[in-house]
Symmetry: C2
Subunit: 194 residues, 2 copies
Amino acid sequence: MTQNPLTIGILLFDGVEELDAVGPWEVLASWARTSPLSPAVRTFTRDGLGVRCSHGMHVLADTSAEDLGPPHVLVHPGGPGARALAADSEHLAWVRSLRPLVPLMASVCTGALVYAAAGLLSGRSATTHHASLDLLAEIDPAVLVDGEARVVDDGDLVTSAGVTAGIDMALHLVARLDSVEAAEQERRRLQYDA
Amino acid sequence: MTQNPLTIGILLFDGVEELDAVGPWEVLASWARTSPLSPAVRTFTRDGLGVRCSHGMHVLADTSAEDLGPPHVLVHPGGPGARALAADSEHLAWVRSLRPLVPLMASVCTGALVYAAAGLLSGRSATTHHASLDLLAEIDPAVLVDGEARVVDDGDLVTSAGVTAGIDMALHLVARLDSVEAAEQERRRLQYDA
């Protein structure tokens, strides 16, 4: 494992919703410190530069897409910037190019709109922010939209509902990749028992 | 209000727990966009420079403590860095100096340890991360530790439990400063209904 650790890349971009990215980061980066899988959890941007998030927070990325390479798990957050990316043919081509190389693609909130626009959700179960469920079905009517679940696990695609559901999604990834006990430990640490 | 907006300062420091800061930021900065109170929500560091958070995320601050001036509401997050600050006499003196100038001091998670070490919680109801409740009572046995509530409102002091409870605390601030309806609107936007 030391030669080829489990890499998890959390994509940052201008207009990313702060909590969409930081919720999963908090869960996954904390879990990584103690997991026997020794996952490498990294934030990254396409160009490696920093971003200005949806509400104006400035965050620097750990690395670039090129330096990261295709991660084992990609987390695509949402936010106003994700809606723009869902209409950006270059970004969509990049996302499609990753699909055969990335075993598990996950999204938070309106990150799912990007996957749908890239054609990755046809015939697949998925969800997004409650206010964007209709838009998800408009982008691709073949998406099996699940408007009830906070996290939808469809094998190599895991999508989640709005903003805070990214925390649930990340806890689900910990349970799936490591163990239910590891996920419960993180949940307790986060005091996420509301 | 335009000459003297309601200012809310979220303190950042090295070793701040990412979600402790970004949870309240997400709530408060979003609320600020539509609230008739036109609050000015800013992240700040003592020196205005960026920080490396608990799990390694690099965040740039909006401003310095000096440029911000005493905010109407101070949010002190927790994290490993907060434990260090609770033993840092210079930081504690700064926090004490703010008390007469800041109408409402709030904390997330182990941020309450700093307030306790600064002597601000004697005889007051307060909470902190579940794993630090004993430590809170050790730092100041006169704290009325509430180990049940996620948010403890003691008037000019509002403390919250661990990590994700900072989201609840921020929603409480929105309800208190603006309206229950505004807080509910934010909660729905965050899909924080787990």
